[in-house]
């Protein structure tokens, strides 16, 4: 059992020495009925902690620097931060892509069009869709699944900087013709005949929802 003052001082010392400190070892050393007190002190201290001073060596190895590299990668992409943010959100939800696609298909009432949704979501995650083309119902459904607001998803999808001169393969396919782009591994639903009206309607709705085509023309 260690006094709260001593533990808190040790925490602050480690934070100031290393630039961060893991509260858990300190909390685990506190008497059980003092943990809330220590945790409150640590939480308030961290929220009030002053800005770290400039340190080039530390910056070079920081999450902030890695974040800049991530932003460098997506600059000019039509889907803004989606290629980085959507996998993070999916990982947070511990959801495989196919699970998410199933739920998204159901949420959008596109039964029978899971392969189309999978292809569209693949484009979205790989930065191939223009975020402004993705319609609100998609973002609202994704928000419910991933635990984010549609507004946040929209703002994450905003393009950074001027558009890239060369569009990615997925984008080129998606915007290059009238047919719906599908990854090579995603076959058209085998049971659907080429001119199946139900299938054509599903393709039209997926195109409208994810690529904004035909939106407002109904």
């Amino acid at each position: 059992m260690t006094d709260v003052s001593i533990l808190f001082d040790e925490f602050k010392h480690e934070f100031n020495r290393d630039g961060y400190a893991d509260p858990r070892p300190f909390l685990s050393r506190a008497p059980v009925d003092d943990r809330a007190t220590l945790e409150a002190l640590i939480a308030a201290y961290l929220e009030a902690a002053p800005a770290a001073s400039s340190d080039e060596a530390a910056y070079a190895d920081s999450a902030a620097r890695r974040l800049v590299s991530v932003l460098d990668e997506v600059v000019g992409e039509s889907g803004g931060l989606w290629p980085q943010a959507l996998p993070l959100l999916r990982r947070r939800a511990r959801m495989r892509r196919h699970e998410l696609v199933s739920r998204l298909t159901a949420e959008l009432d596109l039964a029978g069009g899971e392969d189309l949704v999978r292809a569209a979501f693949h484009e979205m995650e790989s930065g191939g869709l223009y975020s402004q083309d993705v319609q609100p119902p998609v973002l609202e459904a994704l928000g419910r699944i991933l635990g984010e607001s549609a507004d946040t998803l929209r703002s994450l999808g905003r393009r950074l900087g001027p558009p890239r001169a060369q569009l990615g393969t997925a984008t080129a396919f998606a915007r290059g013709g009238d047919s719906v782009w599908r990854p090579p591994s995603t076959p058209r639903a085998a049971e659907s005949a080429p001119n199946d009206p139900k299938r054509i309607e599903l393709e039209r709705r997926v195109d409208q929802l994810f690529r904004g085509r035909g939106a407002g023309q109904e």
């Binding site: 809330a36 007190t37 910056y59 800049v68 993070l88 990982r91 959801m95």
Partner: protein, 217 residues
């Protein structure tokens, strides 16, 4: 613009926004990195206190991406520090919620299935159960409010001790020196006593607000 480290948070944010408006994107991203770095340690510590270590880098990245989206917008940001901590509070809470769901899910799975769903990484981490019970309810802002409330009841000398030694980074000796230099009378023992009393009052306030483990208290 020369040394960005000389700029205040607000000035650096304004500089960043000007760079974005001028189309100097690479410089804007560098300015953003410098700004985020200022609070990375505090954010990492907060995340480490609530989440499995394996989740922390993802969380920092998500906080950063969300902050970037806002930093590049026209949204008014009065205090960068408060704004970043606000984003962090929500992102960490959402992640902690996801971790708890994952734990419950794994606990419900037959043992042969535990770990099968690992394509996205599934380390639930191990938190002390008593701590987890506290941290699931006590937010940093809630803690700050309660601490301010308890501090407000102190006399000026005691409040000064708490500001310097408890919420600040002064050692007890430095606290004594500073207060004496300001004309106050205090000893090292007084500092310890004032801090101990503050902890007792804080504990009572936390208990009243429902923030305690309820074990052994």
């Amino acid at each position: 613009m020369g040394d960005l480290s000389r700029l205040s948070d607000g000035a650096l944010l304004a500089h960043l926004r000007k760079l974005v408006a001028d189309g100097r994107d690479s410089e804007a991203r560098d300015a953003f990195g410098r700004l985020f770095f200022r609070y990375e340690g505090a954010l990492r510590s907060r995340a480490l206190g609530k989440l499995p270590a394996d989740d922390v880098d993802d969380v920092l990245q998500l906080i950063g991406l969300k902050f970037w989206a806002k930093a590049c917008s026209t949204r008014e940001i009065g205090s960068v520090k408060a704004y970043l901590h606000g984003i962090a509070r929500n992102v960490i809470a959402d992640q902690a919620d996801a971790v708890n769901k994952r734990r419950k899910h794994n606990a419900l799975l037959p043992s042969e299935h535990v770990g099968v769903n690992d394509s996205v990484g599934d380390d639930s981490g191990e938190l002390d159960p008593g701590y987890e019970q506290v941290e699931s309810r006590l937010t940093a802002s809630g803690a700050g409010l309660i601490i301010r409330h308890v501090r407000a009841k102190l006399n000026p000398l005691h409040a000064r001790v708490i500001d310097l030694c408890e919420l600040g980074d002064c050692t007890p000796d430095a606290t004594v020196d500073l207060i004496r230099a300001e004309g106050g009378e205090i000893t090292r023992d007084n500092v310890y006593q004032i801090r101990s009393r503050f902890h007792v009052e804080l504990k009572k306030a936390l208990h009243s607000a429902g923030f305690d483990c309820g074990v052994g208290s």
